[in-house]
């Protein structure tokens, strides 16, 4: 599932963007040094293919509902992890811009969730070791299914975390988790089967495309285990570190965070803790630290006052509403005026 | 003026899977000649064309293009002399706008931006597509795409123009425009096509390829009036020569 701008906070959005851009830069550099020239048009055309393929619906056996392909894993198998990541990022960018699928700021999250996990974690750590050189159909199928399931589980979990840390949704962590993970387990199963099917088809039709030294693989085919462990460790630290921040300020850990999100009474004081943690996070990772600082005290003040006191600063006081109506009318007049002048011109 | 000579001498070529595609192909095309290459499907026409700019290298024999023998080292220079236009314009217009597509070749030649602009405008004017320059290729019609594909090659100012099925996707009017355009070029022209009437109209000379070998090489009018010869090669008389 894609993350949306409306549920995102600037801190989380900026963090994920930073991560995704770093990954894009790193992959680009890796490819540039090792690649065959053929690969640039190949990646672009392959991206267009994935994009088009994602638009085909197929019925899922047994359920009658329809599904569609994600693509990260099949790309990794066919192009190698770096090229696959770049292609996935590109496809997501086009979807964000043309379909408004997930916003532009949430794009950073989506590139990470749908690109990093299949290409840099599931593929090298799960698929490659099981499937080996891809000659045994059963092995590749099992590897594909498990790889895709892992990638989607990690992706779904990340969406939950990103929503949680953004603090715009009231959805409790546990409930959201229980919602997302099983759904993506089912989706992962289907996509894994589809991936395995495609791999076996290509294996029969043009097996040389799957060979380790085909056009798009860097000579050191596959990513070194050390680097993968680093990526894994970083991901683990990010998620673990963030969670432990919560834990350190509130010994109850997850229970506390659930209570906090469902808006129970003891909110005011605890919110201070949350915003303090978020502020620390923003300090360390923000792209525009000054900007975040300015908005932060405002956020703190509003969140403090909102649930506890009447006549709040949510702008829902009478003057706010009246002014809001005036603003909307003004905007409408501007629009109308512009259209009139355009019509007169043509 | 030996710059524009194309000479194949005893060229053999086999694909990696061992199929022999060209067998002992020899011919000589001089400056300004217009030659049609015809033959059945799979005879080897496209393979032959792919040797003209070194995309494929002969397994044995020599290819001489404008004073340069074709080798891995001379390939790049040969590509400056030979412009090839392929069957499917979508495969050749790969940049986001027409201007960028036509500028691609000159930019790769190292020409500076202002000269590039001149070349692009010249080439687009040649095919009457100057007003399309800021459009993306997928907004063009088939005929327009074919025209722009030609412009993209012409912008490099090649000495020799080779084309593979140039009129395949064109409607009658676009096809006629293309024929008139080709007739106006003074370059050496090598055109592979099934459209025998086009060949008759544009080319003075004609070569028939069968199973990778040259089975006929002579005046286009002679060859294209020889019904028996044509039918032996899965072809037939051009429509304009058939009895009505």
């Amino acid at each position: 599932m894609h993350m949306a701008d409306a549920l995102l906070s600037p801190a989380v959005g900026a963090t994920m963007w930073a991560g995704s851009i770093a990954a894009i830069g790193y992959s680009s550099k890796k490819l540039k040094d090792n690649i065959d020239h053929k690969t640039i048009p190949l990646m672009g055309v392959m991206g267009a293919f994935i994009f088009a393929a994602q638009m085909i619906n197929f019925t899922i056996p047994g359920t009658g509902s329809s599904g569609h392909l994600g693509g990260g894993m099949i790309l990794a198998i066919l192009l190698g992890p770096y090229a696959a990541f770049i292609v996935m990022a590109s496809v997501l960018i086009v979807q964000a811009l043309f379909f408004a699928d997930g916003g532009l700021l949430a794009l950073g999250c989506n590139i990470w969730n749908l690109g990093i996990y299949p290409c840099f974690i599931a593929y090298p750590l799960l698929y490659k070791p099981i499937a080996g050189n891809g000659h045994h159909l059963r092995r590749t199928s099992i590897a594909a299914v498990f790889g895709v399931i892992l990638a989607l589980q990690l992706g779904a979990f990340s969406v939950v975390l990103e929503t949680l840390f953004s603090g715009k949704s009231e959805l409790p962590f546990r409930s959201f988790l229980l919602l997302m993970q099983p759904i993506h387990l089912a989706i992962g199963l289907v996509e894994g089967i589809v991936t395995a099917g495609i791999v076996s088809y290509v294996q029969k039709a043009r097996p040389e495309l799957l060979e380790a030294d085909s056009w798009s693989r860097p000579p050191d085919a596959g990513v070194s285990l050390k680097k993968i462990l680093i990526v894994f460790a970083v991901s683990a630290v990010m998620t673990g570190g963030a969670l432990s921040w919560f834990a350190s300020t509130h010994p109850d850990g997850l229970e506390w965070s659930i209570e906090k999100i469902t808006g129970k009474g003891e909110l005011a004081g605890e919110k201070n803790g949350v915003t303090r943690s978020l502020q620390e996070l923003q300090e360390k990772t923000a792209v525009l630290p000054d900007y975040n600082f300015k908005s932060d005290p405002k956020e703190k003040a509003e969140e403090q006052t909102a649930p506890s006191w009447p006549g709040i600063e949510a702008g829902t006081s009478l003057s706010g509403l009246v002014g809001g109506a005036i603003v909307l009318i003004m905007i409408f007049c501007v629009a109308f005026g512009i259209r009139l002048t355009r019509k007169k011109k043509t | 003026m030996s710059h524009h000579i194309v000479e194949f001498k005893n060229v053999f070529f086999s694909y990696p899977d061992k199929t022999e595609a060209l067998r002992d192909v020899s011919f000589r095309i001089t400056h300004g000649e217009s030659v049609g290459i015809i033959g059945a499907n799979g005879a080897g026409k496209s393979t032959l064309l792919m040797h003209l700019n070194g995309y494929l290298m002969p397994s044995s024999g020599t290819i001489n293009i404008g004073d340069l023998y074709l080798t891995r080292q001379t390939r790049q220079d040969i590509r400056k002399k030979v412009g090839i236009v392929f069957q499917n314009p979508d495969d050749q217009l790969f940049m986001p706008t027409v201007y960028e597509d036509v500028a691609f070749g000159p930019l790769n030649l190292g020409i500076d931006d202002s000269m590039v602009k001149q070349r692009v405008e010249y080439a687009l004017n040649l095919v009457n597509c100057l007003d399309l320059q800021n459009k993306p290729p997928h907004h063009l019609s088939c005929g327009q795409k074919s025209a722009v594909a030609i412009a993209a090659v012409m912008a490099m100012e090649p000495d020799i123009l080779a084309m593979d099925e140039p009129a395949a996707n064109l409607d009658p009017r676009s096809r006629r425009l293309l024929i008139n355009l080709l007739k106006s070029f003074n370059h050496s022209k090598i055109i592979a096509s099934h459209d025998l009437d086009l060949i008759l109209d544009v080319c003075r000379r004609c070569i028939i390829i069968k199973n990778g070998s040259v089975v006929a090489d002579g005046q286009a009018l002679e060859i294209l009036s020889d019904r028996t010869l044509l039918e032996e090669n899965n072809l037939e008389l051009p429509l304009s020569l058939q009895k009505s």
Partner: protein, 269 residues
């Protein structure tokens, strides 16, 4: 949306992006930066903010009208992607029922307020993103990104992707149509056929990529994509950027609707 609908949808937005209006003529970098600032500002509001978000609608409305984009089209697209936001957002009123007095004794649960806030932010961010492409063209956005530091290799292949999306969608559409014409009662639309179609399309894609590469080689490609020099920033760009910047700043840090509202109340009382 069916495949056909999606195809025409993208095609329509793509057509819009090549119009010639004042907004389309602005430098792509300007629009990209302003849009990103806009998005950032909007989502930086707290989760209970409503009226302060309203002035922000000016930006998409301006782009829409000056850029000659049919508003119905944008609204339809926003509506189409809204289910996800609604689905997640609707839990807010369900779970957060602390009562909050809006004004004069009229009380509403805070959950509804945050839900509404989410929906407003959603409409603003989605329309701004769509209008970016609608007024700039996808290649424009790509070139702007490259100038701002995104790796060249990435941008080049992104441009190829864009170029071939329509070609590949047409190819895919033909196969899907062929499939659909021969399926009855949903039989034949299952996984097996899907995998077959994808497999064939994949191989065709590889072959096409090889032909494109051949065409590039034939025109002198030696490994680096040539880049045309970009246009200069014009005074109009600077004016646009500055005025938008001021607008965003003012609307973010001053409660414009409340100021206007109080002013109106004073005038009329």
């Amino acid at each position: 949306m069916t495949f056909d609908e999606k195809y025409y949808n993208i095609g329509f937005l793509d057509q819009l992006s090549y119009k010639k209006t004042f907004v389309h003529g602005l430098d792509a970098r300007t629009k990209l930066i302003v849009t990103l600032l806009f998005l950032f500002t909007v989502i930086s509001f707290s989760k209970y903010e409503i009226t302060a978000l309203l002035p922000f609608f000016l930006y998409p409305v301006l782009l829409l009208t000056l850029g000659d984009i049919p508003p119905g089209f944008i609204l339809k697209k926003v509506a189409l992607v809204s289910p996800f936001a609604v689905f997640i957002g609707i839990f807010n009123p369900i779970l957060d029922s602390t009562q909050v007095t809006v004004f004069n004794g009229f009380a509403v649960s805070a959950g509804w307020i945050s839900f509404f806030s989410i929906m407003l932010k959603f409409m603003l961010t989605v329309s701004a993103a769509l209008l970016l492409v609608a007024t700039t063209s996808f290649p424009g956005v790509c070139h702007a990104s490259r100038q701002m530091g995104i790796p060249s290799l990435f941008v080049s292949q992104l441009l190829f992707l864009y170029r071939y999306i329509f070609v590949l969608m047409e190819e895919t559409m033909r196969m899907v149509r062929a499939r659909d014409m021969r399926t009855f009662d949903g039989r034949g639309k299952g996984l097996r056929v899907f995998v077959r179609i994808i497999g064939i399309l994949f191989l065709r894609t590889v072959e096409r990529a090889e032909r494109v590469y051949y065409a590039m080689l034939s025109r002198g490609f030696q490994g680096d994509m040539p880049i045309l020099k970009s246009a200069h920033i014009k005074p109009a760009d600077i004016a646009f950027a500055l005025s938008m910047g001021v607008f965003l700043f003012v609307c973010r840090f001053y409660r414009v609707p409340e100021i206007l509202g109080r002013f109106a109340q004073e005038v009329f009382s």
